[in-house]
Symmetry: none
Subunit: 258 residues, 2 copies
DNA sequence: AATGTATAGTTGTATAGACAAGTAATTTGA
DNA sequence: TCAAATTACTTGTCTATACAACTATACATT
């Protein structure tokens, strides 16, 4: 009787509309809880309910002590599909940052071109990034991107921004299938230095191949994880066999949060 | 540094555990907000925050005016996925065999019982198997099975048969929710001997927890893979990070869990 | 110049209370 | 007997307040 539509939902709709209009685009700074309380003349719990919706849908990021910020567009709606490192960290309230170690444009090396199914001599962008969560080094990411697809965002800030978010914001490229292969390796010299571990520490190596929705390869990367700090977790596991290397596939079921 | 674990999160963990144990299985009726407020001695907002998590993850449904109900996630996957290593090997024309290294029945050790959500002193079957593909050692499988569920097939031939096939053939137990966590480790002595690798070779460690379709834990296992011979392959789903609280010794009063 | 220290502002968590809205069973009244 | 009203519950929304945890800035001290 009183209100068929809850206040928090009306506030959510209004804020979403404003976000879409780019109202908070400078610095992406979003009003604080207190400001919204005054603006809408409701209690803080109510505005937080609205903000929570926007956060869950990927429009906002909140940082304790700093404020609330707008993130352009959600990357993925389906949480079981490809999630970027950045989003994952945000979901856990961990500050994601990155350091560019290397960045160059070159014709695809034979092996890489083969994996990525590129034309002979087609250019790729090679980027090595060290990724941090709350300023602790977690992952070395050695990526090759299709130059053709990556070119529009190549000069943007890749240290504080999610590559996938930049991609979605500034291009029409949309990501599709991804797959990955997981191995165990020993820390070499670069891993030792960047990840701050002992030589020969066992690490996870994840080889990922990410396609666009049209089937072209967007990215091939070999990521090295500090296994003691970040775990690989899956709920469903298809499997495949690689006859070339005499590696076998793997089935399995899943498991749980300990 | 160490951020304290919020109350609502601990309550969430505790309730999830109880749901998995089938505590609210009759009529699926879940305690009302008010009951939980009394039980945990917190405010309603706090229990609702915990319930919200369970709702978002699909464990609960709420109906205004009626109450809160448990929804069991039943099996959604094809039986192929549950068949396991044996079936996989057959599909690729590789001869699967296994060698039982250890097999015993014992009361669940504290840590294992905790992970598997077992009653205090409940029995488990511990089996260590070395699994081969074409007579090459591939996996050390260190499993704990719920004795209650495993008992019907305990004396069958586990060296040439798939445990899951035996299970489906001779019992009514059906597998449901499952997931796994992947880490990298160094080969220790047993790995060296059984998998025939050097000491300190990097290996994959997969921790799996497999539930029945009623939510009880059927199996917990820690499997060690020769990473040079077997690759782990998935089509989606990246990393996960722990909020890192395995709390709860057993059976305190509910309001004492903080 | 470097370093520590208030402090003001932010989000995160928690409390206690209130009323609205929906459901189911019981009671009441014709 | 039947239907309406009452009631006792449930979840949904909202308010008001408080403190904890964290960040950035300004300022003081060394």
């Amino acid at each position: 009787m009183d209100q068929p539509v809850p206040k928090y939902y009306k506030i959510y709709e209004k804020l979403l509309k404003q976000i879409r209009q780019g109202k908070y685009s400078e610095n992406n700074l979003f009003p604080s809880d207190t400001e919204l309380v005054k603006k809408f003349r409701v209690s803080r719990g109510t505005v937080r309910e609205a903000i929570k919706l926007l956060f869950q849908q990927g429009y906002l990021v909140r940082e304790q002590g700093k404020g609330t910020f707008v993130t352009y567009k959600k990357i993925q709606q389906d949480p079981d599909r490809l999630i970027g490192f950045t989003q994952l960290m945000r979901q856990h309230n961990i500050k994601p940052t990155a350091l560019i170690i290397e960045k160059e444009i070159l014709p695809a090396p034979a092996h890489t071109g083969h994996i990525m199914n590129l034309e002979n001599g087609e250019k790729v962008v090679r980027i090595v990034r060290l990724r941090f969560g709350d300023n602790q080094p977690l992952i070395i990411e050695r990526s090759f991107f299709s130059y053709k697809l990556f070119e529009p965002i190549i000069n943007m800030n890749l240290e504080t921004n999610s590559i996938y978010e930049l991609l979605y914001e500034h291009t029409d490229t949309r990501l599709g299938d991804a797959n990955q292969r997981i191995e165990a390796i020993s820390a070499g010299q670069q891993e030792q230095e960047l990840l701050e571990v002992e030589l020969s520490t066992p690490l996870l190596l994840i080889k990922r191949l990410i396609h666009t929705d049209f089937g072209a390869v967007f990215q091939y990367s070999e990521d090295v994880y500090r296994s003691d700090r970040i775990n690989f977790y899956t709920k469903t596991v298809p499997y495949s066999i690689d006859r070339d290397h005499h590696t076998l596939p793997l089935e399995l079921e899943d498991h749980n949060i300990f």
